[in-house]
Chain length 236, copies 2
């Protein structure tokens, strides 16, 4: 917990947490709560095939006792296998294959859009920080999860919003340098109910266990030496 | 036209143009067309009280013979007199008052959201540039019209999108250093049909002539020594 104690506390200030229903954003929410922020969650319905994500975002926010707003962002273009049923999802890839290149599950400029809309929300309610659970190690090579991009976004927020110009708004990405097992270990310490988080891209009743996201999650729990309660719950 | 000839031509490459129905974005569209880009316009229905803007965006795109996509972005928060009927619009302000501070018409992080969503569109269709008609001289002091912000956004696009990383996408803001009368003079040279552009914030049948935007437009035409065909049409 040293890395948490070392940080400045939120002191009850408002923060926006980008919540996806996944594991990383849930850990980010609990991290921000632990830092003392008054958290306002924001999730997006962008036509993702795994609509189950929204249900899990609701579960997590409710479990954590924080408000959640869902923004509908249905764009009249596709460009990702995550929103386009006609594009096949990559499955059964090796970790090496997953770590190479930008996969078809990349949703064009997704984090860029989410952060920008979160900045609007932050201006409207007077929040001091926007938290995003992006990380690049053990992740899928999405350009908008890179630290250089997030730093540029932080700068854009500081320069291009009213609160940013008043030095009252910044972007926080506390997981950025962690790998999946480190994130899971942190989440376990923070008491994140992992059974209420969803990672699978395919969005069936049970996680498929074959998509990149399921593979990375399983590897993370393995390396952390922990059991994944979602699998325990859904698979018996 | 020197500033146009000096620039690299678009060479038939695709570009996204953020179109608002207003004068600045129409000049930007004609500028990008003149540069040789194959233009795809993008407009937003974000619950603005001047819905007449959307009608004018359609008119301009149709007149220019370019496609237009309209994205619905209804956010579950307000924070601006431009989207909140309960907040009064500032009227009859002096130019000095207009130039000071951030007015209530500032829509939280609007350009930030629009540019980010345009980046998603650019990734989906393979565009090389995103054009925005932002400028700060003679404008209303919106933080997201500042050159420092736009440069940070350009950097975020280059670092956080697939096309940006391939050096195939950038943000263009050709009007940024121009004042309103210079923009109007440029538009006149480019053949922009100003009668098809709408600036008024209040969104009645005729421009009110009293809001900041009407005042700045009238000043711009005055200084450019040109007659505003919109006023001639609607009032004369």
């Amino acid at each position: 917990m040293k890395d948490i104690k070392r940080k400045e506390r939120g002191e009850g200030k408002k923060a926006i947490i980008l919540l996806s229903g996944g594991l990383d954003s849930a850990v980010t929410l609990y991290y921000a709560m632990r830092e003392g922020y008054q958290c306002y969650c924001l999730a997006f319905d962008y036509g993702q095939r795994h609509a189950v994500e929204m249900a899990f975002a609701r579960k997590i926010a409710s479990k954590a006792g924080v408000p959640l707003k869902i923004v509908s962002l249905r764009l009249p273009w596709k460009g990702s296998s995550l929103v386009d049923d006609r594009m096949p999802l990559p499955v059964d890839r090796t970790l090496r294959a997953i770590s190479k290149g930008i996969p078809s599950t990349y949703v064009p400029a997704r984090n860029k859009m989410f952060i920008s809309i979160a900045a609007s929300y932050a201006e409207a309610i007077g929040a001091y920080a926007i938290f995003i659970g992006a990380h690049f190690q053990d992740s899928s090579g999405y350009p908008d999860c890179r630290i250089e991009f997030l730093k540029a976004k932080d700068k854009a927020i500081r320069l291009g919003t009213k609160r940013g110009l008043e030095n009252k708004l910044r972007l926080e990405f506390p997981l950025i340098r962690k790998n999946k097992s480190q994130i899971i270990r942190l989440g376990a310490k923070l008491g994140v109910p992992f059974g209420y988080t969803w990672s699978c891209y395919s969005g069936g009743r049970y996680p498929c266990g074959r998509c990149d996201s399921c593979i990375l999650r399983a590897k993370g729990f393995d390396e952390a030496g922990l059991k994944d309660p979602l699998y325990a719950k859904t698979r018996g």
